[in-house]
Symmetry: C2
Subunit: 211 residues, 2 copies
């Protein structure tokens, strides 16, 4: 089994590393980071680069595709070579997945038409443009498509997918090994739970924070 | 303010990227990844490299130090240049922090003597060797020392520390932006909560999983 995780300029690191750190432990699976060109790819903050060991041309038919989000996504919505690669890869994948605004790239490639899906809460309106039906859940599965909400939701998606790939007990063992027993110091992780003035402010400042 | 995140061969990516993706958004802060030598550093799975933009020699006195864990930690417990760097850095830091078995490196550098601290649940016995008092909490603060439990606990630590650095409302805004409203598909994230047979099996197989 091959698991391919896409990188692109100004992706959000946790979107990719959350699922990676879970899924790379799938038994008998090869995990590869892939970008338009192999080499270091800078994250949204500019302060970190992850290395894509393979170019798109070198990864033809992964079994599992993971598309992270991040502010760099918006520059790729009409990027022919990438969208073609997503379509070609999806044609043979067992699972096509995304985290955060990565689902907008799947949508732009035409892969979410008529599908239930999710994305970052600030991008829900965008998702409908691609014919997807937004489901307000943290991880949404529709056939072989699994999409996660914003950034950190990729960890929950990774565990959900690992359960499908390797069984519930194996996924629980990885959760235990990663001590994933989250205890956020605040309860502000969703627009339903955060103080309304912070939600409003982030909506207004979302260009600053997210792009 | 400078925030330095240490990388070393066979660290666990999520240990570093969890706090990074929170703390790199601290206002007016510079975040740098640092390793013994600048360049790509491979994670524990061998499937991913993160780039350290600076060498230890280039980072002299960060305000915030973050030491991730991972199986590669065990090879560094008597590594003079690294332990010297940790001691020198700690001498002027405002915060000295760790995730997972990163606390064992702080301990080996002599920085946790008489301190309350935590580490990965499988490494609790090790921590006592360095004169630290283990506190069974997800994030433990003792003076300027903040240590987190295993792997994913670094996200909770990052938010806790961001609250100290930039205020509660700012940290809540970053939590909201990262949609950190965790909903793990299983409740197996700690040895108290996971099925006992999985805890026992992981203890036995910890060399395989963690090293």
């Amino acid at each position: 089994m091959q698991i391919a995780i896409l990188l692109y300029d100004r992706f959000t690191a946790l979107d990719a590393v959350g699922p990676y750190d879970i899924l790379a432990r799938t038994p008998d699976a090869e995990t590869v980071f892939v970008a338009e060109q192999a080499g270091p790819v800078r994250t949204d903050t500019g302060k970190l680069a992850l290395v894509a060991d393979r170019s798109l041309a070198e990864v033809g038919s992964p079994d599992v595709l993971v598309v992270p989000g991040g502010p760099g996504q918006s520059a790729l919505m009409e990027h022919g070579p990438l969208l073609d690669w997503l379509r070609r890869t999806d044609a043979t994948s067992t699972w096509t997945t995304s985290v955060c605004t990565g689902s907008l790239l799947l949508g732009a490639a035409g892969l979410l038409k008529g599908r239930r899906a999710t994305t970052h809460w600030l991008a829900v309106g965008e998702l409908a443009r691609f014919g997807a039906e937004h489901v307000p859940e943290r991880v949404v599965t529709d056939g072989k498509y699994m999409t996660a909400a914003g950034v950190s939701a990729g960890i929950d998606m990774g565990l959900t997918l690992l359960g499908r790939l390797a069984g519930d007990e194996y996924a629980q063992t990885i959760q235990l090994g990663h001590e994933y027993d989250p205890q956020p110091p605040y309860g502000a992780g969703s627009p339903d739970k955060a103080p309304a003035h912070l939600v409003d402010a982030l909506r207004e400042r979302s260009r600053f924070i997210l792009s």
